[in-house]
């Protein structure tokens, strides 16, 4: 597979390490009332769709960027590649 890195252009998937569902970005608030349940769901409940999936890839043999790759798990078609940091910020993560 080829992943079109937003900073470096098309790169072979062999340069990357795969992590999984991009929802791992949405780490719950540790001070919330239901923190224990929220962390349980965050850690153990993951979607595994046959179809379009947003997932985390790490450019370990490259610039060490974490990317959010939107990939169809049935066809391997990649429709979008974003810097995970931008995605995290857009989802309200900060410090």
């Amino acid at each position: 597979m080829i992943i079109d890195h937003p900073l470096l252009g098309p790169r072979d998937a062999q340069e990357f390490v795969y992590l999984g569902d991009a929802d791992l970005i949405n780490r719950p608030d540790w001070q919330a009332e239901d923190a224990a349940d929220a962390f349980h769901d965050y850690l153990y409940l993951r979607d595994n769709p046959a179809g379009v999936h947003r997932e985390l890839w790490y450019h370990e043999q490259g610039d060490r960027s974490w990317l959010v790759v939107t990939r169809d798990t049935l066809t391997h078609e990649i429709s979008k590649v974003e810097l995970a940091r931008d995605v995290a910020r857009a989802q309200g993560r900060g410090r």
């Binding site: 597979m1 080829i2 072979d12 390490v17 992590l19 791992l24 970005i25 780490r27 719950p28 540790w30 001070q31 923190a35 224990a36 962390f39 349980h40 965050y42 850690l43 985390l56 790490y58 370990e60 060490r64 960027s65 974490w66 066809t75 391997h76 078609e77 990649i78 810097l83 995970a84 940091r85 995605v87 995290a88 910020r89 993560r93 900060g94 410090r95």
Partner: protein, 984 residues
């Protein structure tokens, strides 16, 4: 030996005479021959024995689809089994041997299997070797294994180099027949970056095997001119002897180039084969088509061949398959073979055409509406028996029978991304379906366009269409050529045949076997394949799958498209392990990391151990030491008595900088770092998000905004990856930067009561490293040996007064030598990872055996370190009730009551009296060692409610090894429990 069947003409180079041997006998061929064409030229029809019944077999095809003519090539380390004689390019001195026969090809003892064929039907293994059960392992399997297989490998190392390579192009054209050449000319002239790959050593495909004209000249001449033009273009790469074996995601193709298979041995430095990974923007599949046979009784005798192969041998290689040839066909293509042979003066004894309205043949007797029902000839075809349209039987004398059942487009690569082919009624064959791999187009015979002009036209048009997609303008120029329509009446097998009619020659699958599979309800094509082995092995059923499907369709009353095909998977043709491995063999299988002191340690005779990719010194034997324990005990005692040095370079090092560096460490470590003063080091424990302990190390603060943290050797890469995840994905606005500096610094632990005295001789005098100025857990930047910058940490893993000193990697070798020289006054010893391990167990420090993926900070006695006042990875879930039970495992020490007994890691703790079983399990030993200080075996263990059970006598049970040792539960800190040694 004369080449009795060599004709005139052809594309062989008669000036080049090549000598070769087959089963030890010498023959001659010409440049441009394959082993198969050269053997046929010499009148050799018998080339092998079949897999199961050891039936005599000859060559059936002229290409890579060959199921029968499999030979062993070369000898020694270069010996190669199961090579298809049809693609083995002849070279001078070639040695080839037949396979799967004993004692000789003509007299094969195992041919007795053929007499037992009634017992050896489909599913034979599954039915026969069931009872008694115990016989399977001891008798049946070894016997079957001995009889199984075709060729043999020598077992010697392959002396050749194999390589891997990467290529990029606008357009990859797979196959250089009329369609491929026409496409390459079109795209090449338009300036696109083109790769043209073909498995053959000569470009042209069927143009080299037919007598057709293209644009008024011989097809082979047109091909030659096209290749010359393409070779002159800088934007076109011609890759002969290169098979594209698989279509992968996103336009990536795998291809094997046989760089030096056509010579006796590669020249110095040349790879034997190269596995190419081709990244293409678009691909045009011009892989042609494969002719299929018609099954009839005893249709496997040497001399029975595909009609197109007989034609290829005659036209391209100037070889008659035999002096007398008959043709058996259901379509016009068979007639071409007859016509070409007659034109070359070969005697065609009959053309047997299943069609009642078959066209007339000039120069041979035609039997329209007739069928071949049997054949004769023990080691080679002598005659065929036919049934005429009128119902009479007749024997026709022939040494070769050219069979044509129609053509199957080579759709394989169109299906590598789960696409399915679709049925074409006119061709009675599968053609590429709509679900092609992204970026792929198909042209020529592979797309079901079987005429020469059709191939030239669709190739050129395909290239134009593909280039338009890429924004490159191109024009198609198509020369005039043969454009005959396909005239075929489907005919798969002769049903009135009495004997066995072979569908799959390579796996010895007959029409009867398929009937049996059907009778036993293995009707799905995937079941049929596995039950009968139809379509398996080196040829993957290129000549047999369609026949098998047709028979099954007939039996089930379904159509062929309803019956369906099995899945096409890479590789298209067999790929050698050498090509797949490339250079990753032997010592290059994975990289080796050596520390800067490696050469020095080697000089000292160190014994090394692999830790991930690293090699670490395990111990340093001295003269007279015969057992590793002697070396390790000496290293421990000398270190504890005076001073020892250990290379700890392999620990992961991460530089953490930025205004929020402390805040960041607070989040990734369980314990707090914000208040750590500059110039101090703190132990850090890292949790996984589920609350389980992950890794540990130290963090040294060199400035308000600068920390250097260490990780364990094993987790260096993973911890860094996890920290980058935290930095980019979880807290993207923290002002912090990370970089791995593991390989930038050489680091040594200097441990023992004299460690400071030794370091005072190394560290430049303007740095005060006295106990007061540089106390326990201090860190700082210093200079050593007269100005070299270094980092000094006062930390201890051994429990002694100890330091770690780091210098830039290139000074690592000088550093260890300086420490050894200056340390002579203190009888310094180097110590390895074993002594390191003994000392950390004596001290009760947790390591990988304790941080084993199931333990929490609480288990490790570090529960209070997990800060409740801040957010950090793992703290929320570490509070789960299940991880905090009153009887949770706690780290303790164990010591045998009888000092002569030994504790072993892995043993389980049980009550002294009472049952030994899982229900009464109290915990387990994680680490064990012999302590030379205590003169006893000791261990660390995780014990239920362990902290409250010090002094209890228990037993360690290891039923697997029959061990049962009484132990006393003690503090995990066997040595210096109050840490006084650390602070002096």
């Amino acid at each position: 030996m004369k080449q009795v069947n060599r004709l005139s003409g052809g594309l062989v180079d008669r000036d080049q005479v090549l000598g070769f041997t087959f089963d030890g006998k010498r023959y001659e061929g010409h440049g441009g021959d394959t082993l198969a064409s050269a053997l046929l030229a010499n009148g050799v029809r018998l080339m092998g024995r079949s897999f199961k019944y050891h039936r005599p077999r000859g060559v059936m095809t002229a290409g890579s689809e060959e199921p029968d003519a499999l030979v062993e090539l070369r000898s020694g380390g270069r010996q190669e089994p199961n090579t298809r004689a049809t693609v083995a390019e002849l070279f001078d001195g070639m040695q080839a041997r037949s396979q799967n026969r004993w004692p000789s090809l003509r007299h094969d003892m195992m041919a007795v299997n053929d007499r037992l064929s009634n017992f050896l039907t489909a599913g034979f293994y599954y039915k026969t070797f069931m009872w008694p059960k115990a016989f399977w392992e001891k008798l049946y399997e070894p016997t079957i294994r001995h009889a199984a297989g075709l060729g043999r490998v020598s077992g010697e190392d392959d002396p050749d180099v194999y390589d891997k390579g990467f290529l990029h192009c606008d357009l990859l054209i797979i196959g250089a027949g009329p369609a491929g050449l026409s496409a390459a000319l079109t795209a090449g002239r338009a300036g696109a970056r083109v790769i043209l790959a073909d498995e053959d050593f000569a470009f042209g495909g069927r143009l080299n095997a037919e007598m057709f004209e293209v644009g008024g000249e011989a097809g082979s001449d047109w091909a030659k001119a096209a290749v010359a033009e393409l070779a002159s273009m800088g934007n076109v790469r011609l890759m002969a002897r290169t098979t594209v074996v698989g279509a992968f995601d996103h336009g990536v193709y795998g291809a094997v180039e046989r760089v030096a298979d056509h010579v006796a041995a590669p020249v110095e430095g040349q790879p034997r084969q190269v596995f190419w990974r081709i990244t293409s923007k678009r691909a045009l599949l011009c892989a042609g088509a494969t002719e299929r046979p018609i099954a009839f009784a005893n249709n496997d005798r040497p001399g029975i061949m595909m009609a197109s192969a007989v034609r290829s041998f005659a036209n391209r290689w100037a070889v008659a398959a035999h002096e007398t040839v008959a043709v058996f066909t259901n379509n016009d293509d068979g007639h071409r073979t007859a016509a070409d042979l007659i034109a070359k003066g070969v005697r065609v004894t009959a053309v047997i055409d299943t069609r009642a309205d078959a066209p007339a043949v000039e120069g041979a007797e035609l039997f329209a509406g007739a069928q071949v029902i049997d054949s004769r000839g023990r080691l080679g075809l002598e005659s065929v028996r036919i049934r005429t349209a009128q119902g009479f039987t007749r024997d026709i004398v022939c040494g070769a029978l050219a069979v044509s059942g129609g053509w199957n487009p080579n759709v394989h690569l169109t299906c590598h991304q789960r696409g399915r082919p679709q049925w074409d009624e006119t061709l009675a064959a599968f053609v590429p379906g709509p679900d092609l791999p992204v970026g792929m187009l198909v042209a020529g015979a592979a797309s079901g366009v079987l005429s020469t002009e059709g191939a030239l036209r669709t190739g050129a048009e395909g290239a134009v269409a593909v280039l338009a997609d890429l924004g490159i303008a191109a024009t198609a120029a198509v020369p005039q050529a043969e454009d005959a329509p396909v005239d075929l009446t489907p005919f798969w097998h002769v049903s009135e045949s009495k004997g066995r009619a072979w569908i799959d020659m390579q796996n010895d699958v007959t029409v009867k076997d398929i009937k049996l599979a059907h009778q036993e309800n293995f009707v799905s094509v995937e079941h049929l394949k596995r039950y009968t082995t139809l379509g398996m092995a080196t040829d993957q059923g290129k000549t047999s799958n369609m026949g098998g499907l047709a028979v099954m369709a007939e039996l089930t009353g379904k159509s062929i498209p309803e019956t369906g095909t099995t899945m096409f998977r890479p590789p298209y043709t067999p790929v050698s392990f050498g090509a797949l491995a490339g250079r990753a063999v032997g010592k290059h299988f994975h990289p080796v990391r050596e520390t800067p002191s490696h050469n020095w340690a080697t000089e000292r005779g160190a014994v090394f151990v692999e830790v991930g990719d690293w090699l670490r010194a395990q111990w340093f034997p001295q003269p007279g030491e015969t057992h590793w324990r002697q070396s390790v005990d000496r290293e421990v005692l000398a270190t504890r008595r005076s001073v020892g040095v250990c290379d700890v370079t392999t620990l992961g090092k991460i530089d953490v900088q930025g205004a929020d560096a402390a805040e960041f460490l607070n989040k990734v470590y369980a314990n707090a770092f914000a208040k750590l003063p500059v110039g101090k080091v703190r132990y850090g424990l890292m949790l996984r998000e589920d609350g389980i302990a992950y890794d540990d190390g130290t963090a040294a603060r060199f400035a308000e905004d600068h920390f250097v943290v260490t990780t364990t050797t094993a987790n260096a890469v993973l911890v860094y990856r996890q920290m980058e995840f935290a930095r980019q994905c979880l807290w993207p606005d923290l002002d912090v930067q990370l970089i791995s500096t593991t390989e930038a610094w050489a680091q040594y632990a200097v441990a023992g009561p004299n460690s400071r005295k030794l370091l005072e001789k190394i560290v430049d005098p303007r740095f005060d490293i006295s106990n007061e100025a540089f106390p326990f857990m201090a860190c700082g930047e210093v200079t050593i040996c007269g100005g070299l910058r270094a980092r000094l940490f006062r930390i201890s893993f051994s429990g002694e007064l100890a330091y770690e000193i780091a210098v830039p990697t290139r000074y690592g070798d000088a550093m260890i030598r300086a420490l050894m020289d200056e340390g002579e006054a203190f009888d310094v010893v180097p110590y390895g990872t074993e002594a390191l391990g003994v000392m950390r167990i004596e001290k009760g420090h947790a390591a990988g055996n304790e941080l084993n993926g199931t333990t929490t900070a609480l288990n490790l006695g570090m529960g209070r370190m997990v800060s409740k006042k801040k957010d950090c990875i793992g703290n929320t879930l570490s509070e789960r009730a299940g991880l905090n039970m009153a009887d949770a495992l706690k780290l303790v020490g164990v010591k045998p009551v009888d000092a002569t007994q030994a504790v072993k890691a892995g043993g389980h703790l049980m009550a002294k009296e009472g049952p030994v079983d899982a229900a009464h399990d109290q915990g387990y030993v994680t680490s064990a060692a012999y302590s030379p200080i205590l003169e006893s075996s000791i261990g660390l263990a995780l014990l239920k409610n362990g902290a409250a059970r010090l002094g209890e006598v228990m037993r360690i049970a290891n039923p697997l090894e029959g061990d049962d040792v009484e132990v006393e539960i003690v503090s995990a800190h066997f040595v210096d429990p109050d840490g006084e040694k650390l602070r002096v």
